[in-house]
């Protein structure tokens, strides 16, 4: 549950912030989000990763559908990637990589500051 909430918030953050700031700003944003929400290691990694990945791939897919442009195919050929669909997947994968590690970094920073539970059994 916590994962789904975090995934939703991470996706929303990328969608809202990214139009105004470059990708590295979004990476910082995701780090801060994890720092504040402490979703847990796995949730931070996959939530942030899929959040940014879905946001990027979704937007790229939406733009392709909206414009009907052949540019993705042309770009894919230019960079030797075959076709536009692969480029769409590459965009999603890159979003995943950037989102996951940024978000995980935030979670781990939170862990550093989390007060260590003292030896609760031994008192």
């Amino acid at each position: 549950m916590k994962f789904l909430v975090y995934l939703f918030l991470a996706t929303a953050l990328v969608l809202i912030l990214n139009p105004f700031i470059p990708f590295w700003g979004v990476m910082i944003g995701l780090g801060v989000l994890a720092l504040l929400l402490k979703p847990g290691g796995a949730a931070a990694f996959f939530g942030g990763g899929f959040g940014m990945g879905i946001a990027w791939m979704g937007l790229a897919f939406y733009l392709t559908a909206e414009t009907g442009s052949s540019l993705p195919d042309k770009m894919a050929q230019l960079f030797g990637l075959g076709n536009g669909t692969l480029l769409l997947l590459a965009t999603g994968f890159l979003g995943f990589l950037l989102g996951s590690f940024s978000s995980w970094s935030g979670q781990l920073l939170r862990n550093v500051f989390k007060r260590k539970p003292e030896n609760i059994y031994m008192g």
């Binding site: 990708f23 937007l59 733009l63 050929q77 960079f79 890159l94 590690f101």
Partner: protein, 804 residues
């Protein structure tokens, strides 16, 4: 442990973020490119999807309305010229920013800045030819002679710059994203530079090659193979024209003392064969409607984004429409409510070379007559992407820059040649176009042309009032016979250009009896013209086909003029093939060869896209031509070969001429041997083609392609366009060159106009307006180019109002 894992993951994140934001070899930073909010995905929008109703533009004195028709052609309605050109700059940049900047970078010799050391040789050459130097002189000239023009240039530049400032990452043209750089500011200097770039594209010379030939063959043989006028001269200005002026005279040197070096220098690149144009106008007496009709199709390298950008520019005083050059003000080839005009290249050996004798290795002074003259040294800093700047010293003499020297294109220490070129003389071509845009009659047209220096053009003219005219305009030196055909001795003051032909002596004609005027890059005049005229690149086929058709046509319609622009008749083949078939004679041939021969024999000489014979003829001719002049290639110095026309003449009239004999063989070769060898080679080449490619119809063999300005960006090019025509054909569409703009205008009331170019209004490869005209162009179809009024509603894509 927790700290450690945090630092480790943070490190990975930072490295990752860094790796995706720096270029990888030639590849651009991957994250900014793929980020769908800012990267290339944003370039998928077409212009109508980004339409804005209002745009704020500082410096306007009144609101300016821009109406885009269904083809994304902007129609600008401004209250005055300054507003008009400010918005022209803005709108052009909206659609063509990357292209206009890239072309001026090329003209300034700054491509290495963008693409790295691969372009260094190209940039050095551009600098050594002094294009930017010419534009600097042009800028000074405009500033001194016509400050009002400078204000308009500044307004245009300001429009471009306000667009650049408004650009966010998402809207940045995709080429900047791929090549990873950003636009810099535009300036009036760059507009002038662009016009110099056109000069460079259109002007060539063969002085080096002729100097070598003169030494090898001697002047007598040279005159046989390269006569100054062809047998069937059909010049731009009708041969009947009487020249009723006293020519300016010059003094020829006492004795011709050309430097007698055999020059093994890598020559400068020449304008491609096939770069040329057609234009003509027929008078009302020859048209069905009684109105004059004017047509123009400049043939240039076929590129995307297209060289041309269509526009209508209007103020309360004038409305003009046609093809503009992104970066230059006004319309270059077009029409207004009163007149229409068009241009074709009118080269006339505008570049000459002088051998320079320096006093010593410091090259600070050079011999001129009895004295030593001081030379200027201009240090060119060429910035190179990813490397230190390259510094090149170019020595300037009073003739012009020393292009060839020990550091460039020559191994010899003592080789120094300076380039004299009209493009290096202050001039204001921009003013000619601004005045033509507003011209109302023949007198206005003539006045506008007086400001035009280079590259020389044949300006065709027609008016609603019924006049048709042609004038060859440029700044032409008065030359003594033979001057500038070969490299000259710069130390001998007798070799100087002594005077220029006055504008009123430039060849021109108004309403000639034959009822039409025309030009197709052929000889400008008949030998009776009192000034010396020489150029190696004059056309021999398109002009005759065009004039023959115009002479026999009557009651002409606008559709017939469109058809004539798209005419595929291959006159060179019609003249050469019968001679070749005759020389080939009856041969024992295998099945394949007999089939080819039968196809050739039954051909109607039209190079239509679905014909097979044009391919066979084209290959047979090139193989034969190579056979005929094969021995010349073994000389290992640059020479120019006789043209197709003279070669056919020689084959037809004197098949046993000494020129057909190879001196190195015992046998005495004649034209017949070369034609037969050429045929066998053709059969062999065709066999291979059929095995590998199959279909050899003309369009499939020719493979016309319209290439992106960066040839490596192949997916942005349009390849294998199905269309006919070829070199020397009115529809001059060859592999990489052809009609870069076609326009036909009937000057009635109202004016009817049609135009098309192989490209689209948008420079963005992601837009649906990027290449949408190409299929129409390839079919010989046109777009409606009628003038629009401000309140016209039909066929509108969208409208934008610019306010201060």
């Amino acid at each position: 442990m927790k700290t450690f894992s945090f630092i480790l993951v943070l490190l990975i994140t930072v490295v990752l973020g860094n790796v995706v934001s720096i270029p990888m070899g030639p590849a651009p930073p991957v994250a900014p490119l793929l980020d769908p909010n800012h990267g290339f995905w944003q370039n998928m929008y077409s212009e109508d999807q980004l339409a804005e109703e209002n745009i704020q533009l500082e410096g306007l004195s009144a609101p300016v309305k821009v109406a885009y028709d269904e083809n994304l052609i902007p129609h600008i309605f401004a209250e005055n010229e300054e507003d008009l050109y400010r918005v022209q700059g803005y709108v052009t940049a909206q659609h063509r920013l990357w292209q206009m900047e890239f072309q001026t970078m090329a003209a300034a010799g700054r491509i290495s800045e963008i693409v790295g050391p691969v372009a260094l040789e190209l940039d050095r050459m551009t600098r050594r030819k002094g294009l930017a130097y010419g534009a600097e002189l042009g800028y000074e000239f405009v500033k001194e002679t016509n400050p009002e023009m400078l204000e308009l240039l500044e307004a245009y530049a300001d429009g471009v710059n306000q667009y650049i400032e408004s650009l966010n990452d998402a809207r940045l043209p995709v080429e900047y994203k791929i090549l990873n750089y950003r636009p810099e500011n535009w300036s009036s200097f760059k507009s002038l530079l662009l016009l110099k770039y056109m000069s460079d594209m259109l002007v060539g010379d063969r002085d080096l090659e002729f100097s070598n030939l003169r030494k090898i063959l001697g002047e007598q043989k040279l005159d046989v193979l390269f006569p100054e006028f062809p047998e069937e001269n059909d010049p731009v200005i009708e041969a009947e024209r009487i020249w009723d002026f006293e020519p300016v005279s010059v003094v020829p040197p006492l004795e011709n003392s050309y430097p007698n070096d055999e020059l093994v220098i890598d020559p400068l690149p020449q304008p491609e064969e096939g770069v040329g144009s057609n234009n003509w106008a027929v008078s009302g007496s020859k048209t069905k409607s009684g109105n004059p009709i004017l047509a123009n199709d400049p043939h240039l390298s076929l590129n995307l984004p297209s060289l041309w950008y269509s526009m209508q520019l209007s103020t309360p005083e004038h409305r003009v429409k046609g093809a503009t050059l992104p970066g230059a003000l006004g319309v270059i080839s077009g029409f207004n409510e009163h007149i229409a005009w068009g241009v074709t290249n009118a080269t006339k050996d505008a570049r000459d070379w002088y051998k320079i004798t320096f006093e010593d290795d410091s090259r600070k002074s050079y011999r001129y007559g009895e004295e030593w003259r001081e030379a200027n040294h201009r240090i060119e800093e060429i910035k190179v992407k990813g490397q230190d700047s390259f510094f090149d010293t170019v020595v300037y003499t009073h003739y012009g820059p020393v292009v060839y020297d020990h550091s460039f294109r020559s191994d010899r220490q003592d080789v120094n040649f300076a380039l004299k070129w009209t493009a290096h003389m202050g001039s204001n071509e921009q003013l000619t176009f601004i005045k033509l845009n507003k011209a109302q009659n023949h007198a206005d047209y003539n006045e506008a042309l007086n400001h035009y220096t280079a590259p020389a053009q044949n300006f065709v003219f027609a008016s609603v009032s019924g006049d048709i005219a042609m004038r060859i305009q440029g700044k032409f030196p008065v030359k003594w016979k033979g001057q500038g055909k070969f490299f000259m001795d710069g130390a001998d003051p007798q070799m100087e250009w002594q005077a220029f032909i006055p504008n009123e002596h430039n060849p021109s004609t108004l309403n000639p009896d034959r009822g039409f005027v025309s030009s197709a890059n052929q000889h400008p005049v008949d030998p009776s013209y009192p000034y010396y005229v020489f150029d190696n690149s004059y056309e021999h086929y398109r002009n005759r086909r065009l004039n023959n058709r115009l002479r026999e046509m009557n009651s002409i319609t606008i559709d017939q003029m469109k058809e004539l622009q798209f005419d595929d008749y291959y006159l060179h083949a019609a003249e050469a093939l019968p001679v070749m078939l005759d020389l080939l004679g009856n041969q024992e041939l295998d099945d394949k060869a007999s089939t080819y021969l039968a196809e050739l024999e039954s051909w109607d000489y039209y190079a239509d896209p679905n014909q097979k014979a044009p391919t066979l003829f084209y290959i047979w001719w090139s193989k034969t031509f190579n056979q005929v002049w094969g021995e010349w290639r073994s000389w290992a110095v640059p020479v120019v070969l006789p043209n197709n026309y003279q070669t056919v003449k020689l084959m037809a009239n004197t098949p046993s001429s000494e020129f057909f004999n190879y001196e190195g063989t015992e046998k005495v070769e004649t034209a017949r041997d070369h034609v037969r060898a050429g045929f066998m080679e053709m059969v062999e080449a065709m066999r291979e083609w059929e095995e590998q490619e199959g279909d050899y119809t003309w369009a499939n063999y020719k493979r016309t392609s319209i290439q992106h300005l960066v040839p490596q960006f192949r997916p942005f090019s349009v390849e294998n366009v199905y269309t006919g025509g070829g070199r020397g054909i009115l529809n001059a569409t060859s592999e990489r060159h052809g009609a870069s703009w076609r326009m036909v205008v009937e000057l009635g009331n109202p004016i009817q106009a049609f135009g098309i170019y192989p490209g689209g209004q948008s420079g963005n490869p992601g837009s649906k307006f990027y290449a949408n005209f190409i299929s129409k162009w390839a079919n010989g179809d046109y777009l409606n180019f009628n003038l629009r009024s401000e309140d016209q509603e039909e066929n509108l894509l969208f409208q934008t109002t610019f306010t201060n």
